[in-house]
C-alpha cells in the first residue's frame, strides 16, 4: 500500500468547510410546508435557488455530489501525492562458455539461475534490471517486476564465448557506483576479488573443475607451391595431475590423423600435424572427455588452401608478369584509374606506386606509395643513400632472407608510423612497415620487389614470397576467429549462415558480432559463392576451470548515504478531472430536471 502525502497539508484546514456545509444544512430553517391550490405554477420555479448548482443545500444525491466535489477541491488544494517506494535491483548472470561446464552439462548455469531467482526479493516496488555477461555485458531487461525477471532468467542461455572479466568488472562498477540500484546480485563461475561492496551479492556457480582444452587450432600451407597442409593446436591440461592428451583431426566425418602429448599439471603445449590431406573444414577432438565439452572440440578452415585472388593495381602492368608463374596465385592487373574499392573483390591487393583513397577492406601490399597521404599517413624520409641497417627477427617477413645480398633499386624510407611497425630499417627510417587494422594485414615497401624474377634474384624472391605468404595467411600462427569477437565482413559477402543455421544479412565492411556460437560460419557472396570461416572459443583463460580469472572490481569506498529511491507521484490532475466530471453531471442533471418541469406546465 503506497504511502500518501500532501505537498501543502495546510490546505486540509479547508476541510472545515465540509462540516460547515453540513452544518448549514442542519441548522438552516426547515422549509415550512404550505398547502397551495396547485403546485403547477411552482414547477417553473424549480431550479431557481434550491435547484441551482451550488444552491442552497438539499439532502438529496445532488447535495452528496456537491459534498464530494467540495472534499475533492480541498484535497486537490493540498496537492496530494503517492510516495511510490521504488527499489531498483540489478541482477547479472554469467552466461559465458564456462557456465556450460558441470555434470550434467549446464549444471553451473542452472545453479546460478536458481540462486538468482531465490535472491530476487519480492514486492510491488521491486524493479529488476537484468544483465548477461557474454559475449559482452549487455542488458536484457530494465525495470521489470520480479516475476518477469525470474522468467527472463529462466530463459537465459549460455553462449560459446568467453566473458571479458574487465568488461564485467567495468559494468559492475557502473552499477554499484552509479547509485542507481539498492542491491546487485551477481551469479558467476569466476571469483570476484575482494573487497566486495556490501550492495553486491555474489553467488558462486560451481566448484573448480579439472579440464582439458584445445586453445588454438590453425590449418594452413607452409609456402606457395606446396599442396600439403599443416595443422597446429594448442592444448592445455588444467588439472592437478599430469595427463596424456590425444587430439584427433577429422575432415568430412573421417578421422585423418591423431597425435598424443603428455602435459603436466596446469601445463600448456602444442601439437603439430605437418601433413594434412586437403579439405575444406577440419575438426579437432580432444580426449579424455571432461565436464566442459565445448573446448574439447575446435574447428579450422585452411588459411590459404585455395586459389588466392590477387588484384595488382599498377601503372606498369609488366611488373606483374612474374607473379602469374607462382602456384595458387591468380593475378589480375588493372591501372590505378580503374580501381575502385567496390570492385576490389580479391584476397590480396597490391598497389604499385599508388595509394587507395580509403583503407582497403582486404590484406594489401603498398609498393613505394607516395608520402603524405591521408589514408595511411605515411611520411617518406629524403636522403642521399639508403642502406639496410637491421631487421626484425624472427619474423615471417624476414625469415630466410639474406639481406646482405638484397639489392634494392632506389629505395626510400618511411618515418615512424602511428600504428605500423618497422620490420626492416635503413639508415633513414623504415624500409618495410607491417601493421594490422580492422582485421586486415598491410605491408608497405620502400622499394619495388617486382617483377618477380624467381631464382634469378633469390633474396628478393624469398622476401617477396614471405610477404605474399604473410598477406595470404600462410605460416600464420593465428588461431582464427574467436567466439564473441566481432569480425569485419569481407568484401562481397552479403549473407552469413551461422553453425546453428541462422541466415543473417550483412553489409561488407561492417562488424559482424553474431558469432557467439562455436563452429563453421558460411560467408556467402554474389552468385552463392561460399567461403567458410571457423570460429572457436580458443580461450584458455576461459577453459581454466580450476583457476579461473578473477574479476577485480576496485570500487572506491563511498561514504555517501544510501540513495532514496522513493518517488512522489501527484494525482491532483485526476482529482481535478473528477471534480469537472461531477460538476458536469450535476449541471446536466439540473438542466434536464428544469426542462422536464418547464414542459410539465403545458
Amino acid at each position: 500500500m503506497p504511502a500518501i502525502g500532501f505537498l501543502y497539508p495546510g490546505a486540509l484546514a479547508f476541510f472545515a468547510l465540509v462540516p460547515l456545509l453540513l452544518l448549514a444544512y442542519l441548522v438552516r430553517e426547515r422549509p415550512r410546508s404550505v398547502m397551495v391550490s396547485s403546485v403547477l405554477g411552482y414547477r417553473a420555479l424549480r431550479g431557481l435557488k434550491a435547484q441551482r448548482p451550488w444552491g442552497w443545500p438539499r439532502l438529496d444525491w445532488l447535495f452528496l455530489v456537491e459534498l464530494i466535489i467540495l472534499s475533492l477541491v480541498v484535497i486537490a488544494m493540498a496537492q496530494p501525492f503517492v510516495i511510490h517506494r521504488h527499489t531498483p535491483v540489478a541482477v547479472m548472470l554469467d552466461n559465458s562458455a564456462a557456465m556450460q561446464a558441470g555434470t550434467p552439462p549446464g549444471a553451473r548455469l542452472e545453479s546460478a539461475k536458481a540462486a538468482l531467482q531465490r535472491a530476487i526479493p519480492d514486492g510491488g516496488d521491486i524493479a529488476v534490471t537484468l544483465w548477461l555477461t557474454a559475449p559482452q555485458p549487455h542488458q536484457i531487461a530494465a525495470g521489470v517486476s520480479p516475476w518477469r525477471a525470474r522468467s527472463a532468467i529462466s530463459k537465459a542461455r549460455t553462449v560459446d564465448a568467453a566473458q571479458s572479466t574487465i568488461s564485467v568488472a567495468r559494468t559492475l562498477r557502473d552499477i554499484l557506483s552509479g547509485h542507481r540500484f539498492t542491491q546487485c546480485f551477481f551469479a558467476t563461475a569466476s571469483p570476484v576479488s575482494p573487497p566486495i561492496p556490501a550492495e553486491l551479492h555474489v553467488f558462486k556457480a560451481g566448484d573448480p573443475l579439472s579440464n582439458y582444452a584445445i586453445g588454438s587450432f590453425a590449418v594452413g600451407g607452409a609456402q606457395f607451391g606446396s599442396g600439403a597442409l599443416r595443422a597446429r593446436l594448442t592444448v592445455a591440461n588444467f588439472s592437478p595431475q599430469p595427463q596424456t592428451l590425444e587430439v584427433t583431426i577429422s575432415a568430412e566425418g573421417k578421422a585423418l590423423t591423431r597425435a598424443q602429448t603428455r602435459l603436466g599439471a596446469q601445463e600448456i603445449g602444442n601439437i603439430e600435424f605437418p601433413t594434412l590431406a586437403p579439405s575444406g573444414v577440419y575438426r579437432a577432438d580432444l580426449k579424455p572427455a571432461d565436464a566442459f565439452a565445448l573446448d574439447n572440440v575446435a574447428w579450422a578452415t585452411p588459411a590459404a588452401g585455395a586459389q588466392i585472388q590477387v588484384l595488382f593495381v599498377t601503372p606498369t602492368p609488366a611488373d606483374a608478369a612474374g607473379l602469374s608463374a607462382l602456384p595458387q596465385l591468380s593475378v589480375h592487373t588493372i591501372s590505378p584509374e580503374n580501381y575502385s574499392p567496390a570492385s576490389a573483390k580479391a584476397d590480396l591487393l597490391i598497389f604499385e606506386y599508388g595509394m587507395p583513397k580509403e583503407l582497403p577492406a582486404a590484406n594489401a601490399m603498398l609498393i613505394m606509395p607516395p608520402g603524405g597521404d591521408e589514408v595511411f599517413g605515411l611520411r617518406t624520409v629524403a636522403g642521399a643513400t639508403t642502406q639496410i641497417t637491421d631487421w626484425r627477427t624472427p619474423d615471417p617477413l624476414t625469415d630466410g632472407v639474406n639481406f646482405r645480398l638484397l639489392a634494392l633499386r632506389q629505395p626510400e624510407s618511411f618515418a615512424v608510423h602511428p600504428w605500423m611497425q618497422s620490420v626492416v630499417n635503413s639508415n633513414l627510417g623504415s624500409i618495410i612497415l607491417e601493421g594490422k587494422h580492422e582485421g586486415h594485414r598491410y605491408v608497405v615497401l620502400g622499394f619495388n620487389p617486382f617483377p618477380y624474377l624467381g631464382r634469378r634474384n633469390l633474396p628478393m624472391s624469398v622476401l617477396t614470397l614471405n610477404i605474399l605468404s604473410y598477406l595470404s595467411g600462410f605460416g600464420s600462427e593465428d588461431s582464427g576467429h574467436r567466439t564473441g569477437e566481432p569480425f569485419i565482413v569481407p568484401a562481397g559477402v552479403t549473407q552469413i549462415v551461422t553453425p546453428g543455421g541462422s541466415k543473417i544479412r550483412v553489409e561488407p565492411g561492417t562488424p559482424f558480432s553474431a558469432d557467439a556460437e562455436q563452429g563453421i560460419y558460411e560467408l556467402i557472396g554474389p552468385g552463392s559463392q561460399k567461403r567458410l570461416r571457423a570460429v572457436n572459443l580458443a580461450d584458455l583463460n576461459q577453459s581454466n576451470l580450476e583457476n579461473p580469472a578473477a574479476i577485480k572490481l576496485d570500487i572506491p569506498a563511498s561514504g555517501a548515504p544510501p540513495p532514496d529511491f522513493s518517488e512522489r507521484r501527484t494525482f491532483t490532475p485526476y482529482l481535478l478531472a473528477a471534480i469537472l466530471a461531477l460538476a458536469a453531471c450535476e449541471a446536466l442533471f439540473t438542466y434536464r430536471r428544469r426542462r422536464v418541469y418547464a414542459q410539465g406546465l403545458t
Binding site: 422549509p31 404550505v34 431557481l48
Partner: protein, 299 residues
C-alpha cells in the same frame, strides 16, 4: 339577505334582472320563454314559408304573396322558448386555497349571479357541483327567480374538498344531460392544460354554448405569503415541491399562472367558446357588470 351573498344588494339584483343570457345558437327549450328556438312557433320572428294545407290558420296566409304568385303560402314563425342553462361549479380542494382568497365563495357568487340572470329571464337553471363535500345538488332544473334562495342554500352547504379531474367529471355530467343549452364552467383551472382543453372540447362536441369562468385568488396570484425556502403541497394531488421564494420567483410564478390563463383563453376563443377571468381581489359587482359580454350576457 335570505342566505344570498352579501354582494347581492338590491341594486345589484335589479341590474341582474336587466340582463339575459345570449347564446350563439338557438336551443330548444322545455317551455315558453324569451329565447328563439329552432322549433316553429308563434313568435314575431319570421322563419320560412310553406304551401297552404287545408286546416291551416288563415291568419298566417301571406296574401301579398298570393297576389303575386296566385298561390297560397303559410308564413312560419320561430318559437320562443326558455333556455336550458347549466352551471358547473368546481368545488375541488384547490378552490378553497388560499383560504383568504375565498375562491369558492367567489365561484358560488358568480354561479348564483348567473343563475339569477337566467331565472329572472324565465330560463331553466341546473347547478352542478364538481367534487367538494356536503350534500350534492340535484340534477334538476329550477325555474322562477325565487328559487335562487334555494340554490344559494344548497351551494352554501358545499365545502371545497377532494381532487377533481375535470375532463372525466364533465364527461359524466354531459352523459346525464338530455338537451343542449348554455353552459357555464366556473373553476380555478389549476390543472394541466391538456385536461382543460379536453373538457372544453366536450362542450363543443355536444353542441353546447360554453363559457369558462376562471377564478383565481388575489393572494394566490401574488404568492405573497410565501418567502424563502418553502415546501408547497398540492391540495389535490399531495405533490410536494421545495422552492425558494423571492421577488423574482414570485414574478416567475405569477407569469406562469398568467401564461396558463392566456392559453386557456386562446383555446376557448379558437373553439368559439367564451372565457373570462375573475380574480378575487376585484370588486365582484364591478367585475360582473363589466364582464357581461365576456360572460355571454346581454342587457
Amino acid at each position: 339577505m335570505l342566505g344570498l351573498p352579501e354582494e347581492f344588494t338590491s341594486d345589484f339584483l335589479v341590474r341582474l334582472e336587466q340582463l339575459r343570457i345570449k347564446t350563439r345558437r338557438e336551443y330548444a327549450g322545455q317551455g315558453k320563454g324569451s329565447h328563439l328556438s329552432p322549433r316553429r312557433g308563434s313568435s314575431l320572428e319570421f322563419a320560412d314559408y310553406r304551401h297552404y294545407a287545408p286546416g291551416d290558420d288563415f291568419r298566417y296566409i301571406d296574401w301579398s304573396l298570393y297576389g303575386r304568385s296566385d298561390k297560397l303560402y303559410i308564413k312560419l314563425f320561430k318559437e320562443e322558448e326558455d333556455l336550458l342553462t347549466y352551471i358547473f361549479v368546481d368545488a375541488s380542494a384547490s378552490m378553497g386555497l388560499p383560504a383568504g382568497d375565498r375562491k369558492f365563495t367567489a365561484a358560488v357568487t358568480i354561479a348564483l349571479a348567473l343563475a339569477y340572470v337566467a331565472l329572472s329571464s324565465g330560463d331553466r337553471v341546473m347547478v352542478r357541483v364538481l367534487a367538494g363535500s356536503g350534500k350534492a345538488t340535484a340534477p334538476t332544473f329550477v325555474t322562477g327567480r325565487h328559487r335562487i334562495v334555494e340554490l344559494a342554500r344548497q351551494l352554501a352547504a358545499v365545502k371545497p374538498a377532494g381532487p377533481l379531474d375535470l375532463a372525466p367529471a364533465l364527461a359524466g355530467e354531459l352523459a346525464a344531460l338530455k338537451r343542449a343549452g348554455k353552459v357555464f364552467v366556473i373553476s380555478d383551472f389549476q390543472m394541466m392544460f391538456n385536461s382543460i382543453a379536453q373538457a372544453m372540447g366536450m362542450f363543443v362536441a355536444s353542441n353546447m354554448d360554453a363559457t369558462a369562468v376562471q377564478v383565481l385568488g388575489g393572494g394566490e396570484l401574488a404568492a405573497g405569503e410565501l418567502e424563502g425556502d418553502v415546501e408547497v403541497v398540492d391540495s389535490e394531488t399531495g405533490e410536494r415541491l421545495r422552492v425558494s421564494m423571492s421577488r423574482r420567483a414570485r414574478d416567475q410564478y405569477r407569469a406562469a399562472l398568467m401564461r396558463l390563463s392566456r392559453e386557456i383563453r386562446a383555446m376557448c376563443l379558437q373553439r368559439g367558446l367564451r372565457y373570462t377571468l375573475y380574480t378575487t381581489e376585484r370588486n365582484f359587482q364591478d367585475f360582473f357588470i363589466r364582464a357581461v359580454t365576456e360572460l355571454g350576457l346581454v342587457h
